[in-house]
């Protein structure tokens, strides 16, 4: 289970990248589809923020791609990894990841250079959004093997989507705080994060036990029993609850507009720069840790015999 750390890192970083992209990309897509909601043209700060968010997405995808090599025993042969797109979801996953990364890179370049035809950048980024969603779908399908009953359940795609959305919303909120300052302007991201973490807790409570964490095997099998540590399930829930507490605290502080009086925020304000509060950082770290625990639990559900 622990030796799957490259896959834990790859899936979480990849899902977070898709999540961040969707969090900043969906409003953009809506503004194209419904021009009336577009509002005034973006100022320099918004433009800089958009570039920063896209750079974060690219950095996460690059880190994910790099870490994925660590689970290969012959990484130099990986150039052939796209040769079985016809039947292998692993090939498709890498195809969509690379496609997503290329489209985001192109969209970033077009946005950054402020082309006269801004529509082209938007079109590229909307296409990238679809590629990102397909990346997420292929990642889920890869694990939903008919021959692995404990993975072939609704919890697999649900947990992947929740990881993407939760970490995406929180990382976006954090980056906005760092780059343009906190405040009430993007409070919706904090409210959304609180809601998503709460949903993730409910989903984990309801579905994870049937996922093979507790109880008997899902069917007769020639595989050894899962070696997963059940404490990881409890740990994940505790970390999510703690994360929910801190992000709720931050959201409430901003709702009541007394953020300056938040002692926890005050301590970090100078150090981080433009106002990432300690409670938001803590919430992000706790939720990230819960995702890591949950993912190790996931990989621990399937044990390989032999070495």
């Amino acid at each position: 289970m622990w030796k799957e750390w490259p896959l834990v890192a790859f899936t979480i970083a990849g899902q977070m990248a898709v999540g961040v992209f969707l969090m900043c990309g969906v409003p953009l897509a809506l503004s194209v589809v419904f021009p009336a909601s577009a509002g005034p043209p973006p100022d320099a700060a918004t433009h800089g923020l958009r570039i920063a968010l896209l750079a974060l997405v690219l950095a996460l995808l690059a880190v994910a791609a790099l870490l994925s090599f660590f689970h290969l025993h012959h990484p130099f042969r990986a150039r052939r990894v796209l040769t079985n797109l016809r039947t292998s979801w692993l090939s498709r996953e890498i195809f969509f990841e690379l496609g997503f990364m290329a489209l985001v890179a192109l969209g970033t370049l077009l946005t950054w250079r402020r082309p006269t035809n801004a529509g082209l950048a938007e079109a590229v980024l909307i296409t990238a959004g679809f590629a990102g969603v397909l990346f997420l779908v292929s990642m889920s399908k890869l694990y939903m093997l008919q021959t692995v009953p404990s993975w072939n359940q609704a919890y697999t795609p649900l947990s992947f989507v929740m990881t993407a959305l939760t970490l995406g919303a929180m990382a976006t909120a954090l980056l906005i705080d760092v780059s343009v300052g906190g405040g009430v302007k993007h409070r919706y991201l904090l409210n959304l994060s609180s809601f998503l973490v709460a949903v993730e807790i409910v989903i984990s409570l309801l579905l994870a036990p049937g996922h093979g964490v507790f109880g008997p095997r899902t069917g007769p099998s020639l595989r050894p029993r899962a070696e997963t540590h059940r404490l990881l399930h409890l740990g994940r829930l505790t970390l999510l609850a703690a994360g929910l507490f801190f992000i709720g605290l931050e959201a409430m502080a901003r709702a009541n507009n007394f953020i300056e009086m938040d002692l926890m925020a005050g301590g970090f304000r100078g150090a981080i720069g433009r106002g990432a509060s300690l409670s938001l950082i803590l919430a992000f770290v706790l939720v990230l840790a819960s995702e890591v625990a949950g993912r190790f639990l996931f990989y621990g559900l399937l044990t390989r015999p032999g070495r």
Binding site: H71, R77, L90, S91, L145, T147, V148, P220, R304, G306
Partner: protein
């Protein structure tokens, strides 16, 4: 011409001596911890009250299992680099020069036939002793069995000879991969699930 080679396993005859396992290991020079064929010892049950007496009600039998060279080889379908392929005679091969060692096929195979070989840093599995078979010989495991519990041949012929059974507890649902396998069940196999039987020798397989 053989269109799909297959193994036959007689669970009623197998004594669990593991000669098949050792013959395979010996022929293929497999290092410690790598088994292309292994013998699962299935055991379960306990004491049962009959009238005023407690009597033992146990199940115990063996399953000798290797790659079943499935008609729907999920290992090959999952492989991102097409390192696993099927010959015209149905034998499923791993091309270790092409394998990237992602080990995804190990997850996909419900028979745990694919085993990681730390020497080559690739997965490996039973190749049906194809060179011996091509020369008119017999796979090492089949030749080694003192009970004649293993046989091989064309799947259609084996089905005519031994019947259609291809699943006993705790083998997975055969519709997942269409294994080229014919089994003669042990008499205890039908009661194994209700006796909560389980593989008893995980440390050996």
């Amino acid at each position: 011409m053989v269109t799909q080679y297959a193994f036959f396993f007689n669970a009623a005859a197998c004594s669990g001596c593991k000669a098949c396992q050792m013959a395979c290991k010996d022929r293929n020079n497999l290092e410690a911890g790598v088994l292309w064929r292994c013998v699962y010892e299935v055991a379960g049950g306990g004491w049962e009250k009959k009238g005023e007496a407690w009597v033992p009600s146990v199940v115990a039998y063996n399953i000798s299992m290797a790659c079943n060279h499935c008609e729907k080889p999920v290992c090959g379908l999952s492989c991102p680099v097409k390192a696993i392929w099927k010959r015209e005679d149905g034998i499923v091969f791993v091309d270790t020069d092409r394998c990237i060692g992602c080990r995804y096929c190990e997850w996909a195979c419900p028979y745990t036939a694919l085993r990681f070989n730390a020497t080559t840093n690739t997965v490996s599995k039973c190749d049906f002793c194809y060179d011996a078979v091509d020369a008119g010989g017999t796979p090492a495991c089949v030749a080694a069995c003192p009970q004649r519990a293993l046989d091989f041949g064309d799947l259609a012929e084996l089905r005519k000879k031994y019947g259609e059974t291809r699943q006993i507890f705790p083998l997975p649902d055969p519709s997942q991969t269409d294994p080229a396998l014919v089994i003669k069940p042990h008499r205890d196999a039908a009661r194994a699930a209700e006796r909560a039987a389980e593989v008893a020798n995980w440390e050996e397989v």
